[in-house]
Symmetry: D3
Subunit: 313 residues, 6 copies
Amino acid sequence: MSSLMRHGFAARSTGSELFFETASTLRKAASSGDAKAFAKMFVELYEKLMAERPSSMASLNALRRIGTYFLENGLKGIEEYIDALASEYDESVTRAAEMAAKRVVDGDALMTNSNSLTLRRLFKTLVDSGVKVKVYVAESRPGLEGLAMAEYLEKLGVEVYLIVDSAARFFMKNIDKVVLGAEAVAANGAVVGKAGSSIIALDAHEARVRVFVVAPTMKFSIETIYGELLKLPEGDWRLLMDEDTRRTLPENYMATAPLYDVTPPEYIDVIATERGLFAPQAIPIVLREIHGSFPPLVKPLEAIVAEVKRWLQ
Amino acid sequence: MSSLMRHGFAARSTGSELFFETASTLRKAASSGDAKAFAKMFVELYEKLMAERPSSMASLNALRRIGTYFLENGLKGIEEYIDALASEYDESVTRAAEMAAKRVVDGDALMTNSNSLTLRRLFKTLVDSGVKVKVYVAESRPGLEGLAMAEYLEKLGVEVYLIVDSAARFFMKNIDKVVLGAEAVAANGAVVGKAGSSIIALDAHEARVRVFVVAPTMKFSIETIYGELLKLPEGDWRLLMDEDTRRTLPENYMATAPLYDVTPPEYIDVIATERGLFAPQAIPIVLREIHGSFPPLVKPLEAIVAEVKRWLQ
Amino acid sequence: MSSLMRHGFAARSTGSELFFETASTLRKAASSGDAKAFAKMFVELYEKLMAERPSSMASLNALRRIGTYFLENGLKGIEEYIDALASEYDESVTRAAEMAAKRVVDGDALMTNSNSLTLRRLFKTLVDSGVKVKVYVAESRPGLEGLAMAEYLEKLGVEVYLIVDSAARFFMKNIDKVVLGAEAVAANGAVVGKAGSSIIALDAHEARVRVFVVAPTMKFSIETIYGELLKLPEGDWRLLMDEDTRRTLPENYMATAPLYDVTPPEYIDVIATERGLFAPQAIPIVLREIHGSFPPLVKPLEAIVAEVKRWLQ
Amino acid sequence: MSSLMRHGFAARSTGSELFFETASTLRKAASSGDAKAFAKMFVELYEKLMAERPSSMASLNALRRIGTYFLENGLKGIEEYIDALASEYDESVTRAAEMAAKRVVDGDALMTNSNSLTLRRLFKTLVDSGVKVKVYVAESRPGLEGLAMAEYLEKLGVEVYLIVDSAARFFMKNIDKVVLGAEAVAANGAVVGKAGSSIIALDAHEARVRVFVVAPTMKFSIETIYGELLKLPEGDWRLLMDEDTRRTLPENYMATAPLYDVTPPEYIDVIATERGLFAPQAIPIVLREIHGSFPPLVKPLEAIVAEVKRWLQ
Amino acid sequence: MSSLMRHGFAARSTGSELFFETASTLRKAASSGDAKAFAKMFVELYEKLMAERPSSMASLNALRRIGTYFLENGLKGIEEYIDALASEYDESVTRAAEMAAKRVVDGDALMTNSNSLTLRRLFKTLVDSGVKVKVYVAESRPGLEGLAMAEYLEKLGVEVYLIVDSAARFFMKNIDKVVLGAEAVAANGAVVGKAGSSIIALDAHEARVRVFVVAPTMKFSIETIYGELLKLPEGDWRLLMDEDTRRTLPENYMATAPLYDVTPPEYIDVIATERGLFAPQAIPIVLREIHGSFPPLVKPLEAIVAEVKRWLQ
Amino acid sequence: MSSLMRHGFAARSTGSELFFETASTLRKAASSGDAKAFAKMFVELYEKLMAERPSSMASLNALRRIGTYFLENGLKGIEEYIDALASEYDESVTRAAEMAAKRVVDGDALMTNSNSLTLRRLFKTLVDSGVKVKVYVAESRPGLEGLAMAEYLEKLGVEVYLIVDSAARFFMKNIDKVVLGAEAVAANGAVVGKAGSSIIALDAHEARVRVFVVAPTMKFSIETIYGELLKLPEGDWRLLMDEDTRRTLPENYMATAPLYDVTPPEYIDVIATERGLFAPQAIPIVLREIHGSFPPLVKPLEAIVAEVKRWLQ
């Protein structure tokens, strides 16, 4: 049993971390050669994702593709398939970061939050190409993922300002561009991101600062076209904290918090993907090019899971 | 030497707490009967306020009035004068809260932040008159004053939700009215408040939720009319934390944070004062009624301080 | 017993008609010389107004002034006082119309609704001074007051287009200025008007067409400053109809309708009064000039009524 | 001669009713086996539609498809073709309603107007799946189609509030979602709907209430891409009324009224079709998928009609 | 006969130049001791102003005050009165510039147009106090007054960029604050300024750059309250040009141009006057303080002129 | 050596003029039969364009297509290819103008600037079809291309008003539609046009006047999708003037000016092309239809140039 299964998904892990955990968990299950075990793990992972990270689109899309492969081919070649999928994702993250980097110029002050892999790659690309930037990082309560990002940036040698989330509007006057990651991108260009992202985007919109979302197309959602709503889990935010931090808080409040929020398309200027830079309104045509039709005629993930379950019986 | 002088102003103390500390410190200095000592303390307090809380308008206005009294009358009767001033302030806080309470109806869901005395009185008034409300309180990093407010509300028996600051926009859909306190109200109706207040007001404005600022007129600023800008101190926000909390943070970042921010008048619907409820645009006429002319012809505080200094020599 | 008392206020009567009915009813009661009877009628009228037309500010302000006079002077001279009040109102209506007329130029296409006396005077002034206008009149369901206005305009010889309420946005492209009456003007410049007025103002705001509200200052509300909300009665709108029209409607729905709605100040360009043309934001200073202070220190109407009741006992 | 031809199109009939009348009239004409008679009826219908309901896109698209079939195949198999077309339309209406229904949740308060078949199906779907909603229906003067919708809803057991059109803004504070039908959807996402629809959408936009237009893609317009404007017929609105209602109105005004108005795409959140839910900006790509190119290379309807006319000679 | 009378007002002269010419012309007329000659000159000047510069409020207000003095006192002491008036104006220009200067900080990039005396003083004040700024000056076609301002700034040693008017939006991204002069300030805070000013203000508003209008209160208009519109003269703009420039233009077009335009209050942040800095919405209360009532009860200028004319007969 | 090469591109030449010069220069080079000479001229032209007119997309797209042809076929048939390309462009200009003309109705007042060939064709089409319009032409400093347009319109017999650029907002109240040309259309629908165009579009947007950009699809840019920014050259604007005009200006200022500016898609209603009328948001799908995929998989121009250079060695 993988460590992922044992401990539950860290709510604080990024969408990319979850994608790689999903892929490696399934790859390991496949390596045993036991199709039943693989199928069980597949169903288990799906249910876990739906319960804990239902808007983590990269992982859901990975399940869709691996499940489809499995139903068609069994375990044969599935390890290579998963490896290829993981490489494809990894490269698309890098390429999306490079696309976004073309719009950042020397001396820019950027603002971000959380700890997205895609944004780390963006900052790495900038450092590697000698583009000097200042980065304001919101600490991103309650998970405090922004601290990890700040540490990463400091190691890269970037000038970094760690700010409390409520200071985003105050410092916006210093900012040239906002860069944000994503859990999912809906078909209408709305972006599900780390809770608080939509406030930063709103602050930027108010101040006429451009907002770039950097996300590989594997985070694009199709189901939203058919009326499904992206699910945004809420929970007691004390559970998201280190024990040390939690200890400083009172125990007896309703302390519910969203893990994610939705930034509407009108607050986003560009969605940078591995295929190029797009206005949010262009997402439908990108989906069309990827899937060959619009709306895309892909099998719903839940239908695939149902089929796997039937196969198991 | 007062404890206020010894320890510095707690950045986390509210504007009202600072007002009462200012008043009681000066009253105590006066009670000795030593005019020189009083004058020295007066100057010291002024300089401390300008350095640490330059937008704490209730305290600055208190200095203006007590300084004027002192220059005209010496210490004679000054203790009574200060007592009356403190009572006046206290009553105006209560009355402003009562005015605001008239606009809250049973079942309303309110959002607030920080730990303002004026808002505590508003909530107390509501509870006393049997108006049931739900209150969402933003924790108000880095000082976490929202925790104290949440505790207060829970003791009052109010249904209270403690939220992280970055969840304000997410929960705005549940909110009927936003209620905010103030450090200062500028002549054009802009409000200086606890850092993060302007984000909550912007979120409310976006969602068409009404924003009430509750503030006695002693927080109204006059100097802004003559071109002075309200000063907003910034500082390393780790200094604002409990040692426990601070321990959880990295030590080596630029972690500068504003203590206050400015909410522009277009995001405020009503400023509730002891004199009534006003649109931000009506502040000039309220200032006129208080001071008998517009712009008010009051002696600038720094001129009063200069005179006290001259008197000291 | 006056016909007013017998039949109830026609919900469809205008604010000015109600003012004159209020004044004449009290004048008649006074003419008997029986102060008790007068006082009873006064209380009765107040209660009726609060029940049926609580936002009809001209009438409420008339009650305030007549009640104050009565408490100070009894019936002595009260008939002359009421006559003078009625003349003052009548002249202020004419003068407000004349002020507004200065902003209408030959060839303008105007849009209005309902059947306000003030607007009738505006149109009369225009005709008398040879300014040719076209007027689009919304029929103003359910009361259909717009039909009466259209008839009036046709008799004046004005080119008039009667439109359904839902066509206001469609025809706004033809319109140069919107002119609206008012039941009450709040201290923040918001205007209570015939239901549907706020939609016309919103349509005009969207199309960048200027909106003029024409209202004598006797329709200005003071109580709103102290937190009182203007009350907007709702009712079954079938009751507002002619029997003929009502007959065409089904009997068994919840058919509740507002009689009035509130147009926020941001959709109003000018409030034309007998004292001049003002932006909504200038209402506080106009109130200050009328009452000598801001907020005005007038006795609340309910306090006057309470005193009359005590006198009655 | 069909009853449709005898009596003229009821201006109050919905776009779907008109579609079915158009289809059944042509089917009946075809059933005689007389191609000339069919062709004449085809031309007659076209001219009637252009004169009286030129924005009734479902009918115009039906003519385009039936006319194309006729030119290619004569009457052979045309009855089956028309039957299939009618079934396709009927199913697309049902499916669009189901898509929209996914976004309505238990307890929602909806607002609508007129009497669209698509919306009836939406409400039916909700009732059938146990989703309880309240519906505010604007009466939709002058045709008063809202009354019929209210009756339908009451029979379904839905809690229904019949409101006058001018009360839409007043009640918007109670509303969770607005649902509207359409006569036509332009290539840029603008929607032609029953007159007054654009005001409701504007009111909703002001209040940040989401607007759903429910329309099968057969109502999508192509000609608008080539510069043709959607025609919006105006007429004397007294003609649209029952005699009873008309009797209550004066006879001698210019009482011109639009039957339809245009809601710009910025006031529409989602267009629900049988193919999915789309932002207005996604209409071009949907058109592309339907027609295989963008702009679609379909023969203009007027060219088809010209060809039929030539054939007739 | 003064040179002013001989040559006509240069349309390109600033409002302040016109004020001083008006004052010195009348002073010279008074110095002869011939009251009739003075009165004639007064009437002549008034008519010339109304014909050529009807929105040049400083001059019109000067006429109002000098005319009132003359009607009350004849020529006695009038030279001193005019001298005092000119000094008062001159000082108010300086003081308004100083007030505005408090809001400019070292390193600011400013944008302006035309050649206002008030702005020259602002720039002089900044240079004198060691505040370094960059200034972008729009050339201000057709009069090209911006060239003169650019020359003045260059002599002061300020870094100056001369731009074409149509580049204002392009360069706005470099700008920290816009500073504009005024011909007149209406009671609602709208500002009449050199043609093109409203475009710069709109560009600034779009980019969230603050707009400061610098104007002594002698430019405040009262008549607008009573419904009078500020008149904006138009003319053939070739007449405004140097002969050299004009030679480069075709002769045969309709080349009408406004000399002034109106900037609405919503695009103005601060109006800097000798009495302080005010939001546009505070103009009514400033007028009230100057004139002792609101609306001000001053004699209309045309009534004064009529009286002078009667006196002349 | 062509005259184009000798004299440099006139900065004031339109994008279409530049296209035809580019095509004819290459055609002439090809006619010699010397492939090396052709290739050198190709590279030279590319470098000149990138230096002086880097946003002149029609010319850059022409280079892309001619370069591709040359690399595949050498000079064989290249003259015919270039001729066909020029005809295609010419026809697309005419057709785009005709599409736009369908939206102009008799009596419309239009506003434009500069001297675009596409707009000339639009006006010619209107005159030829008997549609009477008034046209306001901004003179378009510093190049004054508007003068040439005004002369053209006058010769056509159109009622034309030549206005200074800074009067665009003033006259917008008279305007029914704004029509603009383009140098380039970005993939997100933003339009690069003659400097000042974006101000006119902003003024129109403020006044709710519709903005039509008329541009053949050969002006559509693809590179922007991959992160490239459209380059907007700046220069000393005195160089753009006639000597006569320049003589009237001071010599010693920084007089830098943009030749072009960018109008964001939200200020554009329709982009009229030879393929139809599109909202800016539909540009991606039009690009897809032209190139067969989205983002289009065309070889970057700089890669083509690099290949030509390699061939040369």
